[in-house]
Homo-oligomer: 359 residues x 4
C-alpha cells in the first residue's frame, strides 16, 4: 500500500539513504502544463538545512521527470518523478542497525518483515514526503485552474499558539507562523530546545478555499474520511480534526450546526464538509504532530539480540518535525481534493451544482 | 465508495426509510462459526428506543443471512446480511423534502447528485451503521479466536469526563461510562438536555488488546491511517486521535517516546502504533462526535426553491449521538484489524513475529 | 473478489439453492429512470425452463429494488437488487455432497476453502449470472441514452455455424441464431443431443455500436483486457477473442491492419479497439463456451473420502449452456463499457473527441 | 490503470523514446534474494536486435534497483526498477507526429487524451513490456521456491504449427519453437517475409506446472479471468484461450470433462482451472498475436489535420511481434500466479490443501 488515491494515484518508492526516491502518478488528467522547475518552490519549503531550526541534512531535491510529460504538458500517461539522494551519511546509522530506537518504526518494521533497512529509518523516513509534495504540485496546479486554493500554517508549537492570524506573513518566517509578532519568541524557544537536546510537537492547520459543493463520496470515501487517512499517513501525526474537531464534544447542537442564509452559511463549525461531502465553504483540517523521537538525550531500549541498551541518536534531525510539515499537509489536502474531484466527475459528470448555490 | 476494507470488504446499502438495509461481506475467511442470533448482542447495544436517552425509533434489527454461510460456518463466499426496516414514519419527513437541514447532509447530497431521498436522511442516516456493527461481529469473532479483544467506552459527554476508569461497569449503564459513580449525574444532565431541546457532543475511546506486532501497511495503508479513515467515516465524527493525539503537540520528545525494556514498553503514548504498524501494545483510538443537528429548536436555512426558511425537526432523534456509537467504533476498529491481519498474512505469511518479542 | 468494475461496481452474492441471490451496484450515476419491471426482459431471455432446450428449473426471477432508487430514479447511492430463490430442489444434490463432479468447481472449492455448499453448485452455479444481467439492464439504459447499443447472437453450436447473418431474427428463436433457415436443423440437433444425455459447446458474438473513440485505459485497464476478464469470468467460458482473434495468427499485416479513409475505417479486423482504446467502430467480442459437464452419462471420479466413484447427474441442466448465455455476454459488455465510460469521464472530462472524428 | 495485480502490484511507467522506463513493485514478500544481474536472462530473451528476425533496435536493458532491496534481499517495501533508454532514434518518428498509423494506437490515444507522444508509439510501445519481464523475474523466483515452474513456446507462426513438441529445444532457436526440425523452414519463411516488407501473426502457449489446487478467486477474480486480462493487456494480443479454448465449442460434454481417478485427473481439457480455481494440474494458456502493423508497405490513412495520406513506416520493427513475446506471456502468467497465491494466503491461510489431494 504505497499508493495514495483512487483515480489520481500516487505510488511512492525509495528509502532515506537508498540511491533515490521517486513516485509514479497515474490517472493524471492530460493537458496540464508542468515544468521541472515548478516543483522547486514547494520542495524548498519542505527542505531541511535551510534554517538552524531544521535538520542539517542538505538535499538538492532536483526532480527529474521520467515520463508522462511531452512538450511541457501531461499526456494522461503515468508521470514518474525521480530525486537522487545525494547527502546520505549512512555511517551515522551503522551503530543503530541492531538497535530499536524508541518512538521509531525500527521495531515494528523488524517484526513485520523480519528485515529492515536501518539507514536513516529506511522506508519509514520522512524523506518519502518529498514525493507527496512533488505530486501535490501537480494537484495544486489543476485545482488552481478551477479556483481551488490550498494553504496552511502552524497553529501550535509546544504550548505556544498564534495570537493574531495573518495569512500574508506565513511564508515570511521559518515557522509558517501566522503572527509575525511571535516569531522572535519562537526562535528563542526553538534555540533553547535545540540546545537542550529535546524536541516538541506541533499543530498544523490546512485549508482549501473555492472547493465547490459536491466533492466527497459517501459512505466510506467521505471527503473528511479520506482527509483523515491522508493526514494520519504523514510521519509523526497523532491526530486529525475537521472543522471544530474535538471542541465539538463540549458544544451544544444549537452552537455547532451552521445556519444557512440566502447568501451562504452563517458559520463554519463543520469545516466545509457535511455528510462527507463539501459544502462550498472553506475546508479546514487540523493535524497534530508528535515531538521528534530522535534525540541526543539517551533512552532505554533493546537490541535485535535481546539485550538492554541505551539509545543516543547522533544523526541530523529536526527538533520539531511539524515545522517543515506545512507543505506536506497542503500536498495531502490537494491530493485528496483532486482525487475526489475526478471521482465526482466520473459519477456525476461536470455539470455545475444544482441551484440554489449557497456560499 | 460504499465498500470498506481491502481484503475483508464490507459493502453496505440501504436508506433510513427504504425497504431494507444490508451489506455484503466479501473476502471473509472460511470456517468461522456464525449464527443469526450472534448479531443481536452488538446490534442491541447500538439500537435506539432502549432508554429515554436515545431516539424513540424502535427497529427490530433482525438479521437475515442470505448467503455465504453453510451449516453454520462461513464458506469463503460473500456473506449477505439483510435487515428489513419496520418502523419508518416517513410522513415525519414529508415537510422537509424541500428543506436543507443545517448540520445535515441534505444540502450536500442535493448539490452532489441533484436528487436525494429525504426520508430520515436517506442514505446519510446513521441507520447505515447497523451494518458496520453486524459485520463487526464476524470480525470480532475471528479476532477473538486469535486473542485480540476489542472494546470501548465513552470518555466525555459535553464537559463531563470520567473520574474513575473501570471496564467492568461500562456495559451496565446506558452511557457506556467507565465510572459508575457518575451515572446519576449524567442522567440528570441528559434529562435536562432533552427537555431543553438541545443536544451535545461526546468522545469515545476504543481499544484493542492482543494485537500482535506487525499489523499495518506503510505508507498509505498505515494502521493509524486506516483507523482515522474508519472512524471519520462514522456519522457526526469530527476528530480522531491515536494514543496521546493532540496532547502530543505540547509534549517533549523525552516525554512522548516510549522507552523499551526487556519485558516490554515502559509506556504507551504511541497508542500501540509506530510507523503505521502495531507494536504489540494496546491500540488506542479516541473519536470526537459533534452534537446532533436535528433539534426541536428552530434554525435559519433555505429551501430547494431558494427561499429563506426556519427548520424545526420533529422526527425522533438522539440528544447525544455519541452515546450509541461505542459499538460502532468498536466495529470499525475490528474491521480495520481483520483487514490488516489478512493483508499482513498475504505479504508476510503467518510466521510468528521475529524475536525478541517485546511486550 | 465478488465485485466487478472500478467505478460502476457490481458486487454479487448468493448461492444456487440459498434463500436468495442479489447484488449491490455502487457508483451508478444519479438520475437514471429505472423500474422493477425493466429487469424482466433480459432476465427472461436468460431464464431456464422456457423452451425444452434449456434446464427445466423454473425461477420467477422477480427483482426487488432494496435501495438506491427514489421515485423511479437512481440517486447515486448503492442500488441493491434481490431475487428470492423459489425452485430449489436441494434433495437433487444430497447424494453429491461428498462427490467431486468432473468438469465442475466442486473439487477446487473444496481444496480452496475446505468447505463448500454442494446444493446446485452453490456459489459456482450460473445462477449468479442473473445479477450480471440485472445490473447490465441499468448499464444498457445509461449507454443507450448515449447512443451505445449492445447486442449479441450465437455464432456456433457444436459444428454448426450460421450461414446467413440477420440481426432481426436473433430474438425470434430459442437459439439467438442469426439465420432463421437453420433453426429447424438446430432443434433437431438439440433434441437428439438431449436424448443422448450428452452436451455440446457454443460460441457467442457480442457487439457494441456507437461507442465513441477514447474509451479504455492503457496499460492494464485496456478495453479489450477488461472485456477478456469479464467474459472469462462467466461460467463455462474457455476463450475470448477481440475482432479477428485467433484468425489474426495466420494473417499478414497488410491484411489485418485497418486502413483509414476520410469517411472512416475501411475494415474492422481490430474489433473496434486499438491500443486498448475504442476506435469508434463496432466493438466485437467472441466467446467460447465449453459443453455442460453435468450429464446423465456416468463418469469416473473420487469422493471426499478418497474413494473411486461413478458420477451421474440427475439435476436439471442445460444440454448447451451457451444458448442462454447471450444476454449474459451482452450484460458483461455493457458493464465494461459503462465502467470505462465513467473512467474516461473522470480523467479526460466530458469534452467530445478531438477532430478529426473518423467513422 | 498502469498497475497490474491486487496484492503483488506492478506499476509501470515510461515511453518508448522518453528518458527511461521503469516500474514499482508493491506488496512483494520480504526476504526474496534478488540481484540486478538476475533480470538479464529474461530481458535478453525478450530483447530486440539479437537475431535478424527481430527489430534492429538495440537496448542495453540494464536494470537499476532503486529501492526495496537491502543487502540482496527484498525488504517488503516497494521495489523500483529503472532502465534508461539509450537507442532512441526519435527522428525516425518526426514525420509521423501528425499521422495516424493504421493498426496502431495513434488515433485512439489522440482521441482519448487530445495529446500524444508520437516517438516510437510513446506509451503504447511494446517497450513497456520490459518491465513486465523484469517484475516477472521476481515473481518467478518466489514461485520457483514453491515448486511452481512457468514456461512457454511459440505454437504457431502464420500457418506453420509445430509437428513435434520438445521443451528442451525451445530456448535453442530464435523462435521459441518446440520442434527443432522446423527451425530452418521458419528461418526461410521469416527471411522471405522480411524481404516482402510484410508481417505475420503468431500464437504462444504458456504453462505453469506445480500450481497447487486452490489458487484463484471466484467470481470476478477467477484465475482464468485474470489470465485473460493479463494476456489481452499485452500489445498486439487479440485472443486468449484456457485449456481447449475455442476447440471446446465443437466438443461434447463427455469428451471435454476431465474424469478423476485416485491418482489424478485423466486428462486436462480444462487447462488446470475449474470454477476459476486451480485444480493442481498444469495451467495452460494460449495467446493470439496479430501481425505487426508497422510495415514498409504503404497504407491509406488520415492525418491530424484531416487530410488523406499514405503511411509508410521507416522505423525498426519486428516482422512477427509474437516471436519475442514468449517471455512476456511467461511473466504475465507468473504475475497472475503470485498475486493469486498471496490472495489465497490472505483469505485461507497457508494451510495445505484439504485431502484427498488429487494429482
Amino acid at each position: 500500500m504505497n499508493t495514495f488515491g483512487q483515480l489520481f494515484r500516487v505510488t511512492t518508492f525509495g528509502e532515506s539513504h537508498g540511491p533515490a526516491i521517486g513516485c509514479v502518478i497515474d490517472g493524471c488528467p492530460p493537458g496540464i502544463a508542468i515544468a521541472p522547475e515548478e516543483f522547486a518552490h514547494d520542495l524548498s519549503r519542505r527542505a531541511t538545512g535551510k534554517t538552524r531550526h531544521t535538520s542539517a541534512r542538505h538535499e538538492a531535491d532536483e526532480v527529474e521527470i521520467l515520463s508522462g510529460v511531452y512538450q511541457g504538458f501531461t499526456t494522461g500517461t503515468p508521470i514518474a518523478l525521480l530525486i537522487r539522494n545525494t547527502d546520505q551519511r549512512s555511517k551515522d546509522y551503522a551503530n543503530i542497525a541492531q538497535q530499536f530506537r524508541p518512538g521509531h518504526a525500527d521495531y515494528t518494521y523488524w517484526q513485520k518483515y523480519g528485515i529492515r533497512d536501518p539507514r536513516g529509518g529506511g522506508r519509514s523516513s520522512a524523506r518519502e514526503t518529498t514525493m507527496r509534495v512533488a505530486s501535490g504540485v501537480i494537484a495544486k496546479k489543476w485545482l488552481g485552474e478551477r479556483g481551488v486554493q490550498v494553504r496552511g500554517h502552524l497553529a501550535q508549537i509546544g504550548d505556544v499558539v498564534p495570537v493574531a492570524h495573518d495569512w500574508s506573513v506565513v511564508e515570511d518566517n521559518p515557522f509558517f507562523w501566522p503572527d509575525a509578532a511571535q516569531v522572535t519568541e519562537l526562535e528563542v524557544y526553538m534555540d533553547a530546545l535545540r540546545k537542550s537536546g529535546d524536541s516538541v510537537g506541533a499543530k498544523i492547520v490546512v485549508e482549501a478555499d473555492g472547493v465547490p459543493p459536491g466533492w466527497g463520496e459517501p459512505i466510506y470515501g467521505k471527503l473528511d474520511g479520506e482527509l483523515a487517512a491522508a493526514m494520519m499517513s504523514i510521519n509523526a501525526v497523532k491526530g486529525v480534526e475537521i472543522g471544530d474537531g474535538f471542541a465539538s464534544v463540549a458544544q451544544k447542537g444549537t452552537q455547532h450546526r451552521d445556519a444557512i442564509a440566502l447568501d451562504g452559511f452563517a458559520s463554519n463549525h463543520a469545516g466545509g464538509i457535511l455528510g462527507g461531502i463539501s459544502t462550498g465553504q472553506t475546508v479546514r483540517v487540523a493535524v497534530a504532530f508528535k515531538p521528534t523521537s530522535s534525540l541526543r538525550l539517551p533512552v532505554a531500549s533493546v537490541d535485535t539480540d535481546g539485550n538492554a541498551i541505551e539509545v543516543v541518536t547522533t544523526g541530523r534531525h529536526d527538533p520539531c518535525v511539524g515545522i517543515r510539515a506545512t507543505p506536506i499537509c497542503e500536498a495531502m489536502l490537494a491530493l485528496v481534493l483532486i482525487d475526489q474531484a475526478l471521482r465526482h466527475r466520473a459519477q456525476c459528470g461536470d455539470v455545475g451544482p444544482v441551484q440554489p448555490r449557497i456560499v
